[in-house]
Symmetry: C2
Subunit: 146 residues, 2 copies
DNA sequence: CCCATTAAAGACATGGGCGTCTTTAATCAT
DNA sequence: ATGATTAAAGACGCCCATGTCTTTAATGGG
């Protein structure tokens, strides 16, 4: 697995809430999990972190739920990866060598660098808002199919 | 983790054996694990698979150990990844969507494709022999440091 | 032939990602 | 106010990658 399952759940959850927000309504955990066919309780944990990080907002109680805030659409994929896959994700050596770094590289460091850099750039330059922009009719379906 | 720890252990083990082979000698598991500072018993399991796949050869008994064969230097990184991270590694959707594929892509499929392709190409086009070629004096050290 | 040595094979333990359930706290409709 | 609804928080279990140990089988030295 290049990225964790948690990342997929988090991103899809955020995208779903952002899409629904066009209708100015809050979205409950049950709705998200149901629509995206994602394990409800597990998603709850992840969404809690997403809210804690300020990427989404949420209120409890009747008519409560998740909703976007001023950060949401500007959030980059790297921000989400940091939440779900850890701060160090982008620095871990492909050979799992702790001391590998640009100034003390492993034998494959330079080989892997372009691909890793490309993936990082894409994640860094892609925001939730940009993904939402490409608003195909089947968008919900495309993040719901199992 | 982009690639498993097992991949790092396998690759480093294969590289070590290949380097020692220049002195025409077999290498024991104890030597590999000791030199590379890798969990001995865990490495044993991985090396068994490496031998079973034909990437290295091995004999038991006194003066036994691991040694290279006609496949070793031509083995690509993708072959090793297939052993340690599974056949499907290169096809898994970044959002963990099972039905995501080029003809039914997730919203980020095309974004991730160039980076993934780059990594795949590098792995596919890089062989053990090519890595050995860049034979710096500190090569052993570079795959040994923890 | 016998024994030390070595990889192969299999049993078992651990840790973290993943998943489920229960309890608590907040919010709103009534 | 009260109760239904909702997210937050925490306890618990499962599975698989990782790691350890023991037993078995093969090989070569003496």
């Amino acid at each position: 697995m290049i990225l964790s399952k948690s990342f997929g759940y988090a991103l899809r959850g955020i995208l779903y809430v952002s899409l629904m927000q066009e209708e100015k309504r809050k979205v409950s955990l049950d709705e998200i999990a149901g629509q995206l066919k994602v394990p409800r309780y597990f998603l709850a944990k992840i969404m809690k972190e997403v809210v804690k990080a300020g990427v989404l907002s949420a209120t409890r109680g009747q008519q409560g739920g998740f909703f976007i805030n001023s950060n949401t659409l500007n959030t980059s994929l790297t921000t989400i990866i940091r939440l779900t896959d850890g701060e160090e994700y982008f620095n871990i050596c492909m050979l799992s060598l702790q001391k590998c770094n640009p100034s003390n590289p492993c034998p494959l460091h330079s080989k892997f660098e372009p691909g890793r850099q490309e993936l990082f750039e894409v994640c860094h330059n892609t925001t939730i808002g940009m993904v939402i922009k490409n608003n195909k009719p089947e968008f919900i379906k495309s993040i719901s199919f199992h």
